[in-house]
């Protein structure tokens, strides 16, 4: 078996090979083990992701006291439900209402709240989103399928420092009969970034 084994019908790019070279050299030097790398991958796949954020949002929708705590101290309220850690150490939750719509971007690079949303999608890291969301957000949102009424105040949050942001979407109409678990199923990653309604 080689690095370029059956998983690679195409030749490896230079940078793919460099990534593999860095890993193998660090393993040989005893700095890291590949098992540690695998363990991190597993955590990103299993433990972090929008299902956590959806749990937080659904709780806020059914529990006014929790919602109040979430909006006043996001980090602590999210920790109450068992989520926190790297890239979620200073959380602020932004409430969408009938009058205000919030949307999050990182023009610098890719700041994103890992514990509640996982790793960011490619479009969030792409130059088009990063360059335009702070200049023509309504146009970008419309392209992404969200047409905002003109009288809604649009707030764009550029998370270039140490605070990480998550949007609390509005609870959809007609969901009064749903359980907390059913509500969580309605919550999407895009809704919690603010590029879609829920």
């Amino acid at each position: 078996v080689s690095f370029a084994g059956h998983h690679h019908p195409k030749p490896m790019s230079d940078l793919e090979a460099r990534a593999a070279a860095i890993e193998s050299l660090l393993v040989e030097k005893g700095v890291i083990t590949s098992e540690q790398v695998d363990a991190v991958i597993e955590i990103f796949q299993k433990d972090l992701g929008p299902m956590n954020g959806a749990t937080v949002v659904a709780r806020a929708w059914v529990d006014p006291g929790y919602k109040q705590r979430l909006l006043s101290d996001g980090t602590a309220a999210i920790r109450e439900l068992g989520f926190g850690g790297v890239e979620g150490e200073n959380m602020r939750v932004l409430e969408n209402t009938g009058a205000v719509h919030n949307v999050v971007v990182c023009t610098l690079c890719s700041c994103y709240p890992w514990p509640v949303l996982g790793l960011p999608p490619n479009w969030y890291k792409d130059f088009a989103y990063r360059s335009r969301m702070v200049r023509e957000p309504r146009a970008v949102l419309a392209e992404m399928g969200l047409d905002l009424a003109e009288d809604i105040e649009l707030r764009v949050w550029d998370s270039s420092a140490e605070i990480r942001y998550m949007v609390l979407p509005e609870r959809p109409e007609g969901t009064g009969g749903l359980t907390e678990g059913e509500l969580a199923q309605l919550v999407t990653r895009d809704g919690m970034v603010g590029v879609a309604a829920v």
Binding site: S13, V86, I163
Partner: protein, 209 residues
């Protein structure tokens, strides 16, 4: 990058976090180096030190590979020539990948504890500004890493909240400084014919006047 023209439409269909399977190992590789206590410093200065050509033509994780390489070489952990020759051997199918076991529960638990840990607390810091103060972002043009986006320099805003002291990540001794969430009107940033809206941006005290 904020405000630049010419990047076209957002491809909202590109919903995955990676462009290729191999990219999944890059960030975990970096975190494993941090776990080993050898990942000194932020990788972003290395990303931003890439040539404009590399920065604009590479994928996100390709930029990270170049930045990781640069940080490891700078830390004397690896030599660039060794990485290049190993990469050539791997491409030629001449290198044997290291043996790998399933992650043991012990490794998984230790890694999980690190990922769940909290290292960036805001701390109390003396600050000059209060909520609702009018501030101006300083005009500046640093060559290295900064968290003061170019598009906001010189613009007037209002302090929306005081958000705690954090080390300012610009090159140098990283003093702990008060940070603020500052609210800006889109028209003050982009002119009278801009879209209506407000921008919130977190800024270190040293960026403000």
């Amino acid at each position: 990058m904020g405000g630049m023209h010419g990047f076209g439409a957002v491809d909202a269909s590109d919903r995955d976090a990676y462009h290729a399977d191999w990219e999944k190992r890059v960030l975990p590789l970096r975190l494993a180096v941090i776990l080993a206590g050898r990942g000194h410093g932020d990788l972003r200065p290395h990303v931003e030190a890439l040539s404009a050509d590399d920065y604009l033509s590479r994928t996100y994780y390709e930029r990270w590979v170049l930045a990781l390489q640069s940080s490891l070489v700078q830390a004397d952990l690896l030599a660039e020539g060794d990485i290049a020759s190993r990469a050539s051997a791997i491409r030629a199918g001449e290198a044997v990948p290291p043996k790998r076991a399933e992650p043991s529960p012990e490794i998984s638990d230790r890694v999980a504890a690190v990922v769940a840990s909290v290292t960036k607390h805001g701390v109390a810091a003396a600050g000059r500004f209060r909520q609702n103060d009018v501030v101006h972002v300083r005009r500046m043009s640093p060559a290295g890493h900064t968290r003061c986006p170019r598009y906001i320099r010189g613009v007037k805003g209002i302090v929306e909240s005081v958000t705690g002291g954090f080390p300012r990540p610009d090159p140098g001794d990283h003093p702990v400084e008060q940070t603020y969430t500052v609210r800006f009107d889109f028209r003050d940033i982009w002119g009278e014919d801009s879209e209506e809206g407000v921008l919130y941006l977190d800024l270190w005290e040293g960026y403000l006047a």
